[in-house]
């Protein structure tokens, strides 16, 4: 799921710190974002936009952090509105709903752990590519040189 790959160049201390922060940003946002799913996306989006002119390594990791939030946004938003409809409409708690919540928790936790791990590794200057999101980031984020 997570691959350690060699980046096109050796990132500097400052770059590693900024790249790692992008994951930390999404980490904090996950905590707020579980009940309010849009928060994670906004937080990582702000960080992404703020680092748009940064170096390739920083941009790459900001993009990966942003993309990983997108899928969580779909999962959590659906769960969020489902919960709202149970609380405020005729919808009742079913086994399907509980199963969805558990599946969402599993995916959120996996992402949480992966984010912590990636934040630690990128801080050390190690380049980490996630399954699917890594390849997608390679497609979107290109080196300017």
């Amino acid at each position: 799921m997570i691959h350690i790959k060699k980046f096109s160049y050796e990132p500097g201390e400052h770059e590693a710190e900024a790249a790692s922060s992008s994951y930390l940003m999404s980490l904090i946002a996950i905590i707020v974002g579980v009940p309010l799913p849009i928060v994670n996306l906004i937080a990582t989006l702000i960080f992404y936009l703020g680092n748009k002119k940064s170096t390739y390594f920083v941009r790459w990791h900001c993009t990966q952090a942003l993309l990983s939030q997108l899928s969580m946004l779909f999962i959590n938003s659906f769960g969020f509105w489902w919960t709202i409809s149970i609380l405020f409409t005729d919808e009742t708690i079913t086994s399907r709903y509980i199963a969805y919540v558990i599946a969402a928790i599993i995916f959120n936790l996996t992402e949480f752990v992966a984010t912590i791990y990636t934040a630690i590794q990128t801080r050390k200057g190690i380049h980490i590519e996630w399954w699917f999101y890594g390849s997608l980031t390679n497609l979107i984020c290109r080196s300017k040189s």
């Binding site: 005729d90 086994s95 399907r96 199963a99 969805y100 599946a103 699917f132 497609l139």
Partner: protein, 267 residues
């Protein structure tokens, strides 16, 4: 590019696969969701009924109770509804009202019986309230209006008596939302048709009482809290038209007449 799409699809599939696998487990049973609801409903039914029992006068005239029981039992039998779970109470009050409380409590005011021109009108209103009970509308409304946490706190004695009184009052004097009312109306027509009771007088009842000139307007709780009575009467007629059956009265004319005389004497 193909690899990315494949990986993306696999991620989506993994999520839905996990969800599907988890739906195979009966979580409701594991978390005892239903039991909590049933227990809460039982307790709430008792609490709210206590409020009315204390503030109103319950009728204990054998003829009144027997007549109402005949109507309720007839509707239940024809629709395979467990009569035992319904707790019917007739209160001596001039308001034209009937309403359902949690756990199958069905309250009928004497004013409703007195203002029904025939037994089919009364059977219609009773069927409508039974439909609310059977379709679990009472608990749905309570959860929606005041929230499950407040309801549970009521049952555990952490809520003041004022809150309980206010909620009980709300149940007796406000309608359900439009969709739930329509659902209960249609269900009531089904109940009546299955029980060979003509639903047309029920529609007439709505028409009649929606007229503001009606002498008993000031006591018209049931109608004033149920909006668009004319529209409701129309779809009841429309719905029942297609299903022609032979109609029979539940009570004999003598029993119905005696019921009204008895109630008038008690006013």
């Amino acid at each position: 590019m193909r690899r990315i799409i494949l990986q993306g699809l696999m991620t989506i599939l993994l999520f839905f696969g996990t969800w599907y696998a988890l739906t195979q487990i009966d979580w409701i049973k594991i978390f005892k969701v239903k039991q909590v609801t049933v227990k809460t409903e039982q307790k709430l039914g008792e609490l709210f009924w206590e409020v009315f029992k204390k503030s109103e006068i319950e009728m204990n005239n054998a003829h009144v109770l027997h007549s109402i029981d005949s109507i309720v039992s007839h509707i239940c039998k024809a629709n395979k509804i467990d009569r035992g779970k319904l707790k019917v109470h007739v209160l001596n009050k001039e308001d034209i009202n009937a309403f359902a409380l949690p756990n199958g409590h069905l309250i009928i005011y004497s004013g409703l019986i007195l203002n029904s021109d025939n037994q089919e009108e009364l059977a219609g209103v009773i069927s409508h309230e039974i439909a609310h009970i059977e379709l679990n509308h009472v608990m749905k409304k309570l959860v929606k209006e005041i929230g499950l946490s407040v309801l549970i706190s009521m049952t555990t004695g952490n809520s003041g008596t004022e809150v309980i009184k206010e909620t009980a009052k709300m149940l007796s004097s406000s309608a359900f939302d439009r969709n739930l009312e329509k659902e209960a109306d249609i269900k009531a027509v089904d109940y009546m048709l299955n029980a060979n009771v003509n639903p047309e007088p029920f529609a007439d009842f709505l028409y009649k009482l929606s007229e503001t000139e009606h002498e008993s307007t000031k006591y018209l709780t049931w109608i004033s809290t149920h909006p668009d009575s004319k529209e409701r009467a129309e779809y009841i007629i429309e719905y029942s038209k297609a299903k022609g059956t032979e109609f029979k009265p539940i009570l004999t004319n003598e029993t119905w007449g005696k019921l009204k005389i008895t109630l008038k004497g008690m006013e």
